[in-house]
Symmetry: C2
Subunit: 197 residues, 2 copies
């Protein structure tokens, strides 16, 4: 139907999350029409990212430096480690600007169905970091899914003989949320964890 260059571009674009075959065709046309302003700059940005981005050997974050900018920043609180599933969760927490400690990216969750065990996640690295004398608290910030919470329980067990407090994110009513639209589990959790006004 069209040249093999366009077909290959469409085929690769359709592998991006959120783009199906139809939207990949639209994206390819959009790119080819904007050769100077978008296609070439995006190709360059991808090449640069492919060359420059590394995984931080300390925390698993993605950055051009290893250790990453967060691990290397002496102003971050070295006593706090926040454990998250993926780098996207780290970005979400950083956008809030309300956490000044360090991170640890697990790289997923335990999943019997998908055959992901403890050795497939960066758990050993976390235990090693938690043993350091300056670390006092490990915050488990896994997703509030069955897999996330299973993983959180497993890590709590593994951290039992480290001298750290283990905490987790609060469950409750999302800011801006309406009670009538919340599920029973969230509402029950919010009621149980009620605080003085």
């Amino acid at each position: 139907m069209s040249s093999s260059e366009i077909d290959r571009l469409i085929q690769l674009l359709s592998k991006l999350p959120g783009l199906g075959p139809r939207s990949a065709r639209r994206a390819a046309l959009h790119l080819i029409k904007r050769r100077e302003s978008l296609l070439t700059p995006l190709a360059d940005a991808m090449h640069e990212a492919a060359v420059a981005i590394k995984t931080c050997s300390v925390c698993g974050n993605l950055d051009t430096k290893d250790p990453c900018a967060i691990c290397a920043d002496p102003r971050r609180d070295q006593a706090l480690i926040c454990v998250i599933e993926e780098v996207g969760d780290l970005w979400a927490l950083e956008r809030t600007g309300s956490f000044k400690g360090l991170y640890h990216v697990l790289g997923g969750t335990l999943s019997a169905l998908e055959g992901i065990g403890p050795d497939d996640l960066n758990v050993a690295g976390l235990i090693n970091r938690a043993r350091r004398p300056e670390v006092t608290e490990v915050i488990l910030a896994m997703n509030a899914t069955v897999e996330g919470q299973t993983t959180a329980h497993y890590i709590t067990d593994r951290l039992a003989d480290c001298d750290v407090t283990v905490s987790r994110l609060a469950h409750g009513v999302p800011v801006g949320g309406e009670l009538d639209y919340l599920d029973d589990g969230t509402l029950t959790a919010a009621l149980r964890s009620r605080r003085p006004f």
Copy 2:
């Protein structure tokens, strides 16, 4: 929040149709995690497309050759020219495999609101092609929108002194469509254009 390389990649990805800031972040992470299998091949495919893809000087199609593979194919019916708004429409018609003539890409529609006049579209090229003795029919396959149909009327007027039949796509019930869900305009058109069973 993350390195400037990642930020730039996210910022450029968010300019693709169908990707907002959140899905652009997801796409960037997806790409960086699949460096060998997706990120580098996609960057290469984009560079190749940026260098190789040209606009066909005859019909406005996108291809690595000029004239494009369709215009250069002697087996295509040189008597038929199908006029479409965009290259995506040409791809859609080619996927059906039911048209064996040539195409002419207008590059948009007339739009008083957006200030797009006849000189911004490839109308002059169409008139020149329609004057050729071998051309007998021009099929107007613009979208069934107000802008598309306005453009179709304008082109019909401009083709008045060319020796060609001007036709348009049929309106009617889409294949697989249910009458109860169709708009009145489509149903009226389908009734008016009814055919012997």
